[in-house]
């Protein structure tokens, strides 16, 4: 195998010694990485996502550095914030004073036994080399256990900051594992941000147990030069509610791979994605929703606004297993193209092996509706304003449900700015 490899994956990262713990999983991940070549566009999963720009770079492991988190503070989460800088836990900027008694918070890197017992997977995502890389080399991570019946009033805010090191591109490998025990409920906000050129390979795992409820916001505001890979694996158990929304603004190349298993009857999933792309950005979403048992519900909505020469890739599989009778699954993918050079490649897929199910999917990619444009213009709005208003409106319904007011405000401002509609500040 080694003979056909053009260049090993991220040699400077793999050359680092394996951190202690997480054996044999780190060793196994490393062994798999040694046999894996760079993903190429001839593979279906990477068909539209060309990694040439990433291959040309070297990355060194990031170190804990000075950061300013002022602009990213969520007032609602002042006492429930975890900060990682270049993949290292930043105890100075973290503050967990407001977490209710009973909530357990551990460094995931030194809690591999417990994580394993709780159901953590060696590497979520199977053959995703970036997730394998995380397993092999992650140094810090958070394990959060919300015990039975506990309702987390304040959102848990996990902030991942990255920074290049002088002129050198860095690599962050943050990892998160969140478990909600029976009847627990919480809001989780993961937010990625950084400066300069760097690579983030993040892994998050989520388990929502019986009748528990988690609202999970993933905000990707990486720098314009960043590469971002985030793998999410979630399992939802009996009557559990999991709502996950990924909002992608940044990164020159980013890929998000949510894999959600509806593991027991009555599990309910809402999976949403919003990508706002410009210039030569590429954002790839490969989602997999696995209906394994009867009577589960999933609702997936993915929206992209693509401007400039950007490319959005959406590949969403809803997999309904033979036993998953009475599955109710809906998937919708919508793309708005703001320039003639922007592209959205959408592939919604239903794979159904049960015979009594209610499933629907659809994809619609296009420009702004000329009838809607005329309607707004006929009320005296200039075409540019009408266009910005409709663009904002396209995105805004995915922001409406964000349960953290300050975050919702922030994101609205970002979306307003990205759609050149800042002066429409009072819109819903």
């Amino acid at each position: 195998m080694a003979a056909v490899m053009e260049r090993p994956l991220l040699p400077a990262i793999l050359a680092q010694p394996r951190p202690a713990g997480w054996e044999p999983r780190r060793r196994q991940a490393e062994a798999r990485l040694e046999t894996l070549d760079w993903p190429g566009t001839r593979q279906e999963a990477w068909k539209y996502t060309d990694l040439a720009a990433l291959k040309a770079l070297d990355f060194t492991p990031g170190a804990l550095a000075m950061v300013d988190i002022t602009a990213r503070i969520l007032p609602e989460a002042r006492g429930s914030r975890l900060v990682f800088v270049n993949g290292r836990y930043d105890s100075h900027h973290s503050n967990t004073s407001n977490l209710p008694a009973g909530v357990r918070l551990l460094n995931l890197a030194s809690a591999s036994e417990l994580a394993h017992e709780l159901g953590s997977l060696p590497t979520p995502g199977g053959t995703d080399p970036f997730a394998e890389l995380n397993t092999a080399r992650f140094q810090d991570g958070a394990l959060v256990i919300i015990p039975k019946g506990i309702h987390l009033e304040a959102p848990l805010h996990v902030l991942y900051l990255s920074d290049q090191d002088g002129g050198q591109a860095t690599c962050s490998l943050p990892r998160l594992f969140v478990v909600l025990e029976r009847d627990a409920s919480a809001t989780l906000v993961e937010e990625f941000q950084g400066r300069g050129r760097y690579l983030t390979c993040a892994v998050a795992e989520v388990i929502v147990k019986e009748n528990a409820s988690l609202s999970h916001e993933r905000i990707q505001r990486e720098s314009a030069e960043a590469f971002h890979f985030s793998s999410l694996a979630a399992r939802v158990e009996r009557d559990g509610q999991y709502s996950c929304r990924t909002i992608t603004f940044g990164g020159s190349l980013s890929r998000s791979t949510p894999q959600i298993t509806l593991a027991h009857e009555g599990a309910n999933l809402t999976l949403e994605g919003l990508c706002l792309l410009d210039d030569a950005q590429l954002a790839d979403t490969h989602s997999f929703i696995d209906h394994t048992v009867p009577r589960c519900i999933s609702r997936q909505t993915h929206k992209t606004i693509a401007d400039g020469k950007s490319l959005a890739v959406f590949n969403g599989i809803i997999y309904v297993r033979k036993d998953a009778q009475n599955t109710d699954a809906q998937q919708q993918c919508r793309g708005l193209l703001l320039s003639t050079q922007a592209r959205v490649d959408a592939k919604p897929q239903l794979e159904i092996y049960a015979d009594d199910v209610k499933c629907a999917h659809g994809a619609a990619i296009g420009q702004l509706d000329p009838e809607a444009m005329f309607y707004l213009e006929s009320r005296g709005l200039r075409p540019a304003l009408a266009r910005n208003l409709l663009t904002y409106a396209f995105a805004s319904d995915l922001l409406a449900g964000i349960p953290v007011p300050s975050l919702k405000r922030q994101l609205r401002q970002t979306v307003l700015a990205r759609t050149n509609a800042e002066h429409l500040e009072t819109l819903p």
């Binding site: 005329f374 006929s378 005296g380 009408a386 009072t426 819109l427 819903p428």
Partner: protein, 254 residues
Amino acid sequence: MLSIRNLTARIGENDVLKGIDLEIKAGEVHAIMGPNGSGKSTLGKVLAGHPAYEVTGGEVLFDGRNLFELAADERARAGIFLGFQHPIEVPGVSNASFLRLAYNKKAESQGRDELDPLEFDDFIQEKIRLVKMDGSFLDRSLNEGFSGGEKKRNEILQMCVLEPRLAILDELDSGLDIDALRVLGEAVTSLMAPDRALMIITHFPRILETIQPDQVHVLSAGRIVRTGGMELALELEERGYDWLKAEVAPAGRA
């Protein structure tokens, strides 16, 4: 105020307007009636600047200016308002914010002061009373999930906010029950003034009982085939449109 001279227009390969002549003076109410497909709605859309229609001949002067030199939004700011037969739903844009935006854009172009959200709230409360709209519709997305009647009410609310000089109302009566039609008809009538004019596009004469027209024009196959007063509308109610077609057809062939 509005002079239409030998106006012809088409959509795609279809010639829809085949030579319209019409003169509307300030203070007047004109009804445009006619069977389906006669070109009534097209006339309204062409006047408002819908991009799908191509003007192939003739001219339209609005206050002496060539209307076709103005884009749709410029016509709106100049005082033309089209009440849509099928108003568009715009999810994600609140009705109140949209109304304020439209009001302020017009105010800006006229050199008047814009209204901030609080001032606008006072202003709009008075307007929603005029059209008897439930205030909760202001907080909803523009027309999203509104019933046919609610959409029409919202069109007239927009008209009340923008106070156009020439309002063209395209089948305001479709989707409205009799009570709502009366309320909206009265609201429209209350907006009339000596320097304003109305063009009511309708299939049925009932709306004209509330909004009294000065002239009634009957459109057939892209031409005005008859002009009269309210008695013409009543005659149409009684006899339908077929007798007109029969009368006009030979002339059309000549």
